[in-house]
């Protein structure tokens, strides 16, 4: 018996060692690649991104095709990437950080991870309320966080504002995503900005009171619950609703644009900034400018059913079909500065 075991162990070991050697060789050539390209005219740009590969890779590939500049990237959660940039300090290989939500962008800026860039291209392409006041980061796509309701059990005239969902007639009819998601933190942060902390806390307590079930881990599940009849309305990002529509155009869910008679729908961005210690700041800036250009904007927005940040670019036909709405005109940056306050407020309101 022992003989057969040792043969098995030996062959496993041999296979694993062979694989490892191959890989180490591959990795050796990997790490030497950027060094050789440094002398080249076209530098390799290094990107840390919390946006998923299937969203960014097509854009990067196209950029490489158009300009010859190679882009290497790594994906992870925003918080982890920010921590990594902080730890790496001056020696970071990253030239650019791409992430979603102003909460994250503001945090990165607050940690001093971005550099301020002067670019007329970016200033023309991206509206002022979608970028940081000192040019450290720029919104690249816009999503609205809005109300989705069951067309079977809710009439649109029953809906009005985010705050109204806290009223007693919604008792046991509301579903929400967890407060741990940055999207909800930013929503509440902008509410603090416009309503003040006390009023916002009342609203959030009202929501919690009206919950039909414990908060969900994601928007899709919350919409499925509305569809299944567990609750009647929820608050989600528009592109998640877009995905539901794509799968089933006949779905008995619909979008509602709240707060049209006051501040407007809460919008948020995905965006990017050039790192403080970028090794290729010019090349990275060229990439960022390209990402704000009409071609890239159309592709970026379309691939995730978002709204382009560049006002010259029209949203896709599917997204346009949801109708026009008045967006909260507050600079998205304001959401970032109130984020910690929002998290604490939701904790106090027992919104988990």
């Amino acid at each position: 018996m022992i003989r057969s075991h040792s043969r098995l162990l030996k062959s496993s070991l041999a296979a694993l060692t062979a694989a490892s050697t191959l890989l180490l060789a591959a990795c050796g050539s990997d790490s030497s690649a950027p060094a050789t390209e440094m002398t080249d005219a076209k530098p390799t740009i290094t990107v840390y991104t919390s946006r998923n590969e299937h969203l960014v890779k097509p854009l990067f590939d196209q950029y490489t095709k158009e300009t010859g500049s190679e882009i290497r990237y790594i994906t992870d959660k925003a918080g982890a990437l920010i921590q990594r940039l902080k730890a790496e300090g001056a020696t970071t290989p990253a030239d650019m950080l791409i992430t979603v939500d102003v909460g994250n962008l503001w945090q990165a800026a607050n940690e001093g991870l971005f550099r301020s860039i002067d670019s007329t291209v970016l200033d023309t392409n991206i509206p002022a309320e979608l970028q940081s006041s000192n040019n450290e980061w720029f919104g690249l796509s816009v999503r609205a966080r809005t109300i989705v309701y069951s067309t079977e059990r809710v009439k649109p005239e029953d809906l009005s504002t985010y705050e109204a969902l806290a009223e007693p007639q919604w008792q046991g009819r509301l579903c929400l995503r967890t407060s741990k998601k940055v999207y909800n933190q930013s929503l509440v942060a902008t509410m603090i900005n416009s309503q003040g902390e006390a009023a916002t806390e009342e609203t959030v307590k009202g929501w919690v009171n009206n919950l039909a079930t414990a908060p969900f881990s994601n928007d899709t599940k919350a919409m499925e619950a509305v569809l299944a009849g567990q609750c009647d309305a929820t608050i989600v990002n528009t592109y998640y609703f877009g995905r539901v529509l794509k799968k089933n155009p006949e779905t008995k869910l619909a979008l509602f644009w709240p707060n049209q008679s006051d501040r407007g729908v809460h919008i948020n961005v995905s965006g990017a900034g050039i790192t403080q210690h970028a090794k290729q700041p010019e090349a990275a800036q060229a990439l960022l400018e390209w990402l704000s250009s009409p071609t890239a904007q159309a592709q970026l927005a379309q691939s995730n059913q978002e709204y382009p940040a560049n006002p010259l670019v029209k949203p896709s036909a599917e997204v346009a079909a949801w109708g026009d709405f008045k967006a909260d005109a507050i600079n998205v940056e304001a959401a970032g500065s109130q984020q910690t306050a929002a998290v604490r407020l939701m904790d106090r309101a027992q919104y988990h």
Partner: protein
């Protein structure tokens, strides 16, 4: 070989040398741990006050419920299944024997999203029930404590099953027969004789399951079920206070260290030895309804814990394979496989050297170094990953960069983002997984073998090579395969520390599930399970042969 001339000085030197691997392993673990414990140098009273006021009570209660639930259920399930398989004969036993181990191949975070898809209010099961019995039909909340315990138990019971099964197999039927000859009934014999004899193995299995439960973040976050780990993440990502997060993590660690110490202490007192005797084939032959009951029970567990989730994944993968399958997919598989392989070999070598050193010193209990080295497994993966990243960043900055400056090179990241850092992270995390089986294999080898060989003039290397390695092979194989499978499933450290382009299947699963695209996560998840199955099957075959 001038053995006769070996001076006392040389002997001391060589003893120190053999201590080196333990020192290395402990240092590796201490690197991230020190970063975590160092967090107490700053004062975060205000955050603590907020956490205590708003949620710590609830989180501790949830964590406690989860630990008790998973502990009790995985023990009941694991022990009962192990007993049936090891000592009874019933239809389908041979097949069920290894099928019961298969859930080990499924990462917890995958089972979680499959279970949520199937069993939530909007899922097919509850929808069907509402269709049949009306809207008021009661169904337990899959996202509540009971549901989470249920889901975690289906993936974690194999740890108990695997270890209890080996213990029962080693006992054989003889012990029970002896007890019954002495007038004890079957149940009493089981509880008074068989169970206490298997206690160390069962305790080790439950301990593994509980450490996984405590460290888990992926699964509980899918359910939005808040546990102590949630507080760590909340402090970090929500309140942007990594210091408070590290302080919380250090408390978790302290708790685990105390628990491990207590468990080892309890085990130490109850050290039992038994003759290495096997009664293969002598099982209680179950007949009639009893036999079918046994088959049904085991098959039911396999159905719920493996067949149903895999079928759901298959269905989803079929729907999405057109968008997901491409040439890069093979690269993902190759990378996953190779990272698992490299990490397994490294962890194996280190664990072997540490265990051998322990043996050389004639110690049965692990010393402080070895205890420290085992702590990596109990830390939430992300906390460990950040600890390692911060530690390596410091090394880069204070050691490598000055060196580079000395050599006239521009400062750059050497450790952070390197393959080496990632492999070290895996080794830190899974050292105890490798150490366990190797250590227990050593325990089974009589010290007299070594003494005999040394008397005959072999040095320590020769003893290791000629005496120990052949006898240790089964344990080494177990260690190798366990680390291999665990590494392939590992997510947070891989995400944070991987070099550019080193995406794995787990990374792809994360990317999809983080956006709630469960269907698209199905293909990588299924692939990960498929490549984990052969090692798991080898593991079982190995333990069957003993």
């Amino acid at each position: 070989m001038p053995h006769s001339q070996t001076s006392a000085h040389n002997q001391r030197l060589s003893r120190w040398l053999w201590q080196a691997p333990s020192l290395l392993a402990a240092l590796l673990v201490l690197l991230p741990l020190s970063v975590i414990f160092f967090s107490w140098s700053s004062n975060e009273t205000e955050i603590w006050q907020h956490l205590i006021e708003t949620q710590l009570g609830r989180l501790l209660q949830n964590t406690f419920l989860l630990l008790v639930g998973v502990g009790v259920w995985s023990m009941l399930l694991g022990v009962s299944l192990a007993w049936l398989i090891a000592l009874c004969e019933f239809p389908g036993r041979r097949l069920l024997d290894w099928a019961l181990m298969l859930p080990l191949a499924i990462p917890t975070y995958v089972v979680a999203f499959v279970a949520l898809g199937l069993l939530s209010y909007s899922g097919p099961v509850q929808s069907l029930m509402r269709e049949w019995f009306g809207n008021d039909v009661w169904f337990p909340d899959i996202r509540g404590p009971a549901g989470v315990v249920f889901v975690m138990t289906t993936v974690l019971y194999p740890y108990v099953y695997m270890l209890a099964r080996s213990a029962f197999l080693a006992q054989g039927r003889g012990l029970m027969d002896a007890s019954r000859l002495l007038g004890q009934g079957p149940w009493k014999s089981f509880f008074k004789v068989a169970l206490p004899m298997a206690r160390p193995a069962i305790a080790a299995g439950v301990a593994l399951a509980l450490m996984e439960t405590l460290a888990d973040f992926g699964a509980v976050s899918v359910f939005n079920f808040d546990t102590f780990t949630t507080a760590i993440y909340k402090s970090w990502f929500g309140l942007f206070n990594i210091t408070a997060a590290a302080q919380l993590a250090s408390l978790l660690l302290l708790f685990v260290a105390v628990a491990l110490y207590a468990e080892q202490g309890a085990r130490g007192k109850g050290r039992l030895h038994q003759a290495q005797r096997r009664d293969d084939g002598e099982r209680y032959i179950l007949r009639g309804p009893l036999a079918w009951l046994a088959s049904g029970y085991c098959a039911g567990v396999v159905l719920i814990a493996f067949i149903v989730p895999v079928s759901q994944l298959l269905l989803w993968a079929w729907e999405s394979h057109a968008t997901e399958m491409n040439s890069r997919y093979w690269q993902l598989i190759v990378r996953t496989f190779s990272l698992g392989g490299i990490a397994a070999v490294c962890a194996l070598l280190l664990a072997l050297l540490v265990a051998y050193n322990q043996r050389l010193q004639h110690r049965r209990q692990p010393n402080l170094l070895e205890r420290t080295a085992s702590l990596g497994y109990a830390l939430p993966g992300s906390v460990l990953a950040v600890g390692i990243m911060l530690a390596f960043a410091q090394l880069d900055r204070h050691l490598i960069n000055p060196l580079q400056a000395l050599l006239g090179q521009a400062p750059s990241q050497v450790l952070v983002g390197s393959l080496l850092a990632l492999i070290l992270a895996y080794v830190v995390r899974f050292f105890s997984v490798a150490f366990g089986p190797i250590h227990s294999s050593f325990e089974r080898i009589k010290p007299s073998f070594q003494e005999a060989a040394q008397t005959l003039g072999s040095n320590r290397w020769q003893v290791l090579k000629r005496i120990y390695l052949p006898l240790l092979t089964p344990g080494l194989l177990t260690a190798l395969l366990l680390v291999f499978v665990d590494t392939m499933k590992e997510m947070p450290a891989t995400l944070l520390l991987r070099p550019f382009g080193w995406d794995t299947l787990a990374v792809r699963i994360y990317e999809m599930t983080s956006e709630g695209e469960w269907e698209r996560a199905a293909l990588p998840a299924l692939t990960l399970i498929l490549i984990s199955i052969p090692p798991v099957v080898i593991l079982i075959r190995r333990s069957r042969n003993g």
